[in-house]
C-alpha cells in the first residue's frame, strides 16, 4: 500500500469562472485557494475522495468559500470579521448588510473588479529587507520572486546574518538590483535592524528567505500604507506546499500563519480592551510578510535584539507591533498581500521550531511586561498558557475527535525555557535606535 502525501495546494483563479478539479491519487487532500483578479478570497479543504468535481460543481464550492470575503469587500456591513478586541467572538454581532445593495447584487466578482483602484501612485519610497542565514538555495528562489515584483521596490537588501559560508553573498551577486549587507552578530532582530539602517526608504517591507512573494505584494502593502495612521501592515502567509506530515500538521493542527481573507484593523481600542489578559499581538500576522513605516520605527526604536530567531526564538515581530500599538499607532492585516511560505519539512524540524516559537513567545511577553509594566503579559504566561495546555493535553489524551498534536510537549518545554532566557538577558541592551 502506498502512503499518500498529506495534501496538495491548488491555486484556482475565478477570473473566468470556476474550473474543474481532477483527482490526484498520490495525495489525501487538496487545499484549494480561490483567487480573483490577483486577490485571494477564500480556501476550501477537499478530500481527494470527493474529487473529481466539474466546473459547475466547483462553482458552488468556490461560492461558499469566498462568500464572506466577497461580501466584506462589497458591503459596508454584515460580513465583518469578528472584532479583534472582543473576548467573546460569538457575541460580537455586526449590523446586517444594506438590503438594496445585497438584492441588486448579481455579479459580485465583477463588482469587486470595478471597485479596485490602482495602488501605484503612492509617493513613498519602499525597501524590501530579506534576512537570511546559511540558506543559499532558498534565498536564490526568494530573490527570483522579488525581482519580478510589480512595481519594483526602490531597494532590495539582503542581510546575511552571522553566516558560516559565502553562499548568500555569491547568490546576491547574481542579482544586480539587490544589495548585500552583512550583520556578523547572530539574531534576526539584529539583522532586521541592520537592514533598516542600510536602507533609506520611507517604508520597509520584510520577508524571509523561505518565502516566495506574490507579484503584487509591494503594491498591496503600499496601498494599505496610504492611511497615515497605519504604522505596520501584515499580509496573508499561505503554505507553499503541504507534502510532508510536518507541513500538514503545522498548517492544520497548529493553524499555520493564515489569518483569514478579510482585512483587520488593530488599533488603540483593541490594545486597551485586551491589555488585561495580554494583547494577542501574535494574531496580527507574521514577520515573513510585514511592512513598517520608518517614522514609526524611529519613534519607538528598532527590534529588540534579545528576541527573534537566533536569539530567543521568535516574536521580535509581535513585540514590535505591541510597542507600536502601545504608542497609539495602527497595525493593519491585509490579506491581499500574499507570500507563500515553505513550512518545516520534517517532524524533527517542526518540533524544534514549535519549541523555539513558544520560548520566544514567552520571552517576548516578559520583555513587553518589563518595558510597559502591563500585567496582562504575566496573566498570559501564568494563567492562559497553562490553562490552554492543560485543555490540549486532556484532548490529546482522549483523542476522540482530535488527531492530537505531536508537538505539544515541545511547545510546553518552550515555556520555562523562555522564562529562563528572559532572566539571563534581563540586564542586556535592547531596542536600539535605527535612525
Amino acid at each position: 500500500m502506498t502512503v499518500l502525501l498529506p495534501a496538495r495546494v491548488v491555486h484556482m483563479t475565478l477570473d473566468n469562472g470556476a474550473q474543474a478539479l481532477t483527482r490526484d491519487h498520490s495525495v489525501a487532500r487538496a487545499l484549494v485557494i480561490f483567487w480573483h483578479d490577483g486577490v485571494p478570497l477564500g480556501q476550501k479543504l477537499l478530500d481527494e475522495s470527493a474529487l473529481p468535481l466539474s466546473a459547475a460543481q466547483m462553482a458552488d464550492v468556490a461560492a461558499h468559500a469566498i462568500e464572506a470575503a466577497v461580501g466584506w469587500r462589497l458591503f459596508s456591513s454584515g460580513f465583518n470579521p469578528p472584532d479583534p478586541d472582543s473576548t467573546w467572538k460569538i457575541l460580537s454581532r455586526s449590523e446586517p448588510a444594506p438590503l438594496p445593495a445585497v438584492i441588486a447584487t448579481t455579479a459580485p466578482l465583477h463588482a469587486l473588479q470595478e471597485q479596485r483602484r490602482s495602488h501605484r501612485d503612492v509617493g513613498a519610497r519602499v525597501a524590501v529587507v530579506v534576512c537570511t542565514r546559511d540558506r543559499g538555495q532558498a534565498l536564490a528562489r526568494c530573490l527570483r520572486g522579488l525581482v519580478l515584483l510589480q512595481p519594483m521596490p526602490d531597494e532590495i537588501i539582503v542581510v546575511d546574518n552571522a553566516p558560516h559560508d559565502e553562499a548568500a553573498r555569491l547568490c546576491v551577486e547574481q542579482f544586480p538590483h539587490v544589495r548585500y549587507v552583512r550583520e556578523p552578530r547572530a539574531g534576526l532582530s539584529r539583522a532586521r535592524n541592520a537592514g533598516v539602517r542600510a536602507s533609506s526608504a520611507d517604508i520597509i517591507a520584510f520577508t524571509d528567505d523561505d518565502v516566495e512573494v506574490n507579484r503584487n505584494w509591494i503594491a498591496v502593502l503600499l496601498g494599505a500604507m496610504r492611511d497615515p495612521s497605519v504604522a505596520a501592515v501584515t499580509g496573508l502567509v499561505l503554505p507553499a506546499s503541504l507534502d510532508t506530515e510536518a507541513r500538514w500538521i503545522f498548517e492544520r493542527t497548529l493553524g499555520g500563519f493564515g489569518q483569514g481573507y478579510r482585512s483587520i484593523r488593530y488599533d488603540a481600542k483593541f490594545f486597551e480592551q485586551t491589555c488585561w489578559f495580554g494583547v494577542p499581538v501574535w494574531r496580527i500576522g507574521a514577520g515573513a510578510n510585514m511592512a513598517l513605516r520608518r517614522s514609526a520605527l524611529t519613534a519607538v526604536g528598532g527590534f529588540d535584539e534579545r528576541l527573534g530567531a537566533g536569539a530567543s526564538g521568535c516574536s521580535e515581530d509581535s513585540e514590535m507591533w505591541y510597542r507600536l500599538l502601545a504608542a497609539g499607532y495602527v497595525c493593519l492585516y491585509e490579506p491581499s498581500a500574499v507570500v507563500l511560505h515553505d513550512h518545516r519539512e520534517t517532524m524533527r524540524q517542526l518540533r524544534h521550531q514549535m519549541r523555539a516559537y513558544m520560548k520566544g513567545h514567552v520571552a517576548a511577553l516578559l520583555v513587553q511586561w518589563e518595558r510597559h509594566g502591563h500585567r496582562g503579559n504575566l496573566h498570559r504566561i501564568f494563567v492562559s498558557i497553562p490553562w490552554y495546555y492543560l485543555r490540549l493535553a486532556c484532548r490529546n489524551g482522549l483523542r476522540l475527535f482530535h488527531q492530537g498534536d505531536p508537538t505539544l510537549w515541545a511547545q510546553v518545554r518552550g515555556v520555562p525555557a523562555g522564562i529562563w532566557y528572559f532572566v539571563r538577558h534581563r540586564a542586556t541592551a535592547n531596542a536600539p535606535s535605527v535612525s
Binding site: 475565478l14 470556476a18 466539474s54 461560492a63 454584515g78 445585497v102 448579481t106 459580485p108
Partner: protein, 415 residues
C-alpha cells in the same frame, strides 16, 4: 400558549416591499423569502398581537436571514452553475399513499404547473400513484379521472412496500418520491433538473421541505424544533465529511423521504428499500435514512438541493405529533441504526458515537426544557424528548428484528 396560528408569507425580495398585513387572529408569521423565484431564507417570528409587520422589520429579517445565501448564490451564478430550466432525463414521479385521496388530489394539482413549465417532451415524464393497502376505492377513482397518471395498487401495508412497487413499475431513469401529505413548489421540477444537470454523477437527491400551514400548536412546535428544513445552500455529500465524526450514520442530515429522488438503476442494484423499515404502523420511519446511508456507503454521491422544494402538512394534533416523534424519530431512527450496526461492522464505532451523541442531545433537551418549564419560560414539552428516548431504546433493542418478523409474516400472507 395554546391556540396559536402562524400566517405564512411567500415573498420575492426583488419585488417592491411593503408592510405585511396579518389576519386578525394570528399570533405569528412564517416568512419564506425568494430571490427571482429561488428560495433564499425562511424564518418564523411571534408578532405579539400586532396587526402588521412593518416594512422595516421585514427588511431587517431579510437582511438577517438571507444575505449570505444571496451573495453565495450570485457568486455561483456568475460561474458555471446551471440556471433553472434544464432539460430532464426520463423522470418517474412516484406518489405512495394510503387512504389520503384529498392529499393525493392536492399534490397532483400542484404538479400540473411545474410539469408543464419544464422543457421536457411529455413521454419523458410519468406520474405514478401507488395505492398502498387502501381501505376504499376513492384514490383509484380519483386517479382514473386523470388518464395521464398511472395507478397501481400494492396490497401489503407499509410505505416501503409501496416504494419498492414504484421502483418495479418505474420506467424513468430517475425516480422522485413524494409523500401524500406534501404539495410541490412551482420550481420543484426545475430545481431537481438543475441539480441533475450540475451533478450528473450523483445517485440521490434530496430537497427542501417547508411547512404548508402552521395552523395549530403542534404544527408550530414541529417547525420551531427545526421541522424538515435543511438550509438554503446546496450540499454535495460524498463518502467522507470533514469535521463530522458521526457521518454518514447521522443520515437525518441528508433530508427526508417526503421529497427525495434516486437514479433508478442504482437503487435497484442496491436491492430496493428495506421493507422492515418504514413498514407502516409498526415502524413508521427509518426507511429513507437507510436508503441514503446505503447509497453513500456504496460510494455514490447525494446532493441536497434547496430549489427542489415541497411544502409539507405537519401533524395537526399534538397526540399525532408526539406519536410521530416517538415512532418515526425515536423507534424508526434507532431501528435503522441497529440494522447498520449489524450490516456494516466497519462503521460501528461511528454509529455507537452517533447513538451517544443522540442520547446526549435528547437528555440535554429534557433537562433544558424541564428547567424552562419550572421557571415559567417558553418551552417545548419535555415529554416529547423523553418519549423519543424511550422509543429509541425500544428500536435499539430488538425493534428491527421484531419488524423483520412482522414483515416476513406479511409477505407470506400476500404473496
Amino acid at each position: 400558549m395554546s391556540g396559536m396560528r402562524y400566517q405564512l408569507f411567500d415573498v420575492d425580495v426583488t419585488h417592491p416591499r411593503h408592510d405585511l398585513t396579518l389576519a386578525p387572529e394570528v399570533s405569528g408569521a412564517a416568512i419564506l423569502a425568494r430571490r427571482a423565484g429561488v428560495p433564499i431564507g425562511f424564518w418564523m417570528q411571534r408578532t405579539k398581537g400586532a396587526r402588521t409587520i412593518s416594512v422595516e422589520e421585514f427588511e431587517r429579517g431579510i437582511r438577517r436571514h438571507t444575505i449570505d445565501t444571496v451573495v453565495a448564490t450570485s457568486v455561483a451564478e456568475r460561474s458555471e452553475r446551471p440556471p433553472l430550466g434544464q432539460p430532464l432525463p426520463f423522470l418517474t414521479i412516484a406518489i405512495c399513499t394510503k387512504d389520503r385521496p384529498l392529499g393525493v388530489e392536492r399534490l397532483l394539482d400542484s404538479l400540473r404547473e411545474p410539469t408543464a413549465a419544464v422543457p421536457t417532451q411529455l413521454d419523458g415524464l410519468e406520474i405514478l400513484v401507488v395505492d398502498n393497502a387502501p381501505s376504499n376505492e376513492q384514490t383509484r377513482e380519483l386517479v382514473e379521472r386523470r388518464p395521464e397518471i398511472r395507478y397501481v395498487r400494492e396490497r401489503p401495508p407499509g410505505l416501503n412496500f409501496g416504494r419498492n412497487r414504484a421502483l418495479r413499475e418505474a420506467r424513468g431513469n430517475v425516480i422522485a418520491f413524494l409523500d401524500d401529505d406534501v404539495i410541490v413548489d412551482t420550481y420543484w421540477l426545475s430545481g431537481i433538473a438543475a441539480a441533475l444537470a450540475q451533478h450528473p454523477d450523483a445517485a440521490a437527491f434530496t430537497g427542501q421541505v417547508l411547512p404548508m400551514e402552521l395552523e395549530t400548536d403542534a404544527q408550530i412546535l414541529f417547525e420551531d424544533r427545526g421541522g424538515f428544513r435543511r438550509g438554503f445552500a446546496q450540499v454535495r455529500y460524498g463518502a467522507v465529511r470533514r469535521g463530522n465524526p458521526v457521518y454518514p450514520g447521522s443520515a437525518g442530515i441528508f433530508g427526508t423521504g417526503a421529497n427525495m429522488a434516486f437514479k433508478t438503476d442504482v437503487v435497484r442494484r442496491l436491492g430496493g428499500f428495506d421493507e422492515a423499515l418504514d413498514s407502516g404502523a409498526p415502524v413508521p420511519g427509518g426507511g429513507d435514512l437507510d436508503m441514503f446511508y446505503r447509497v453513500i456507503r456504496a460510494g455514490h454521491v447525494l446532493v441536497y438541493e434547496p430549489r427542489y422544494l415541497v411544502f409539507h402538512q405537519h401533524r395537526r394534533d399534538l397526540v399525532g405529533l408526539i406519536s410521530q416523534y416517538q415512532r418515526s424519530w425515536g423507534l424508526g431512527l434507532m431501528c435503522y441504526v441497529s440494522k447498520c450496526l449489524t450490516t456494516d461492522p466497519v462503521q460501528r464505532p461511528r454509529l455507537l458515537l452517533y447513538i451517544l451523541w443522540w442520547l446526549f442531545l435528547h437528555v440535554g433537551q429534557v433537562v433544558v426544557q424541564s428547567t424552562r418549564k419550572l421557571l415559567g419560560l417558553p418551552h417545548r414539552p419535555p415529554s416529547i424528548y423523553f418519549g423519543e428516548i424511550w422509543y429509541g431504546a425500544k428500536g435499539l433493542f430488538g425493534g428491527y428484528a421484531r419488524s423483520q418478523r412482522h414483515v416476513a409474516a406479511l409477505r407470506q400472507r400476500f404473496l
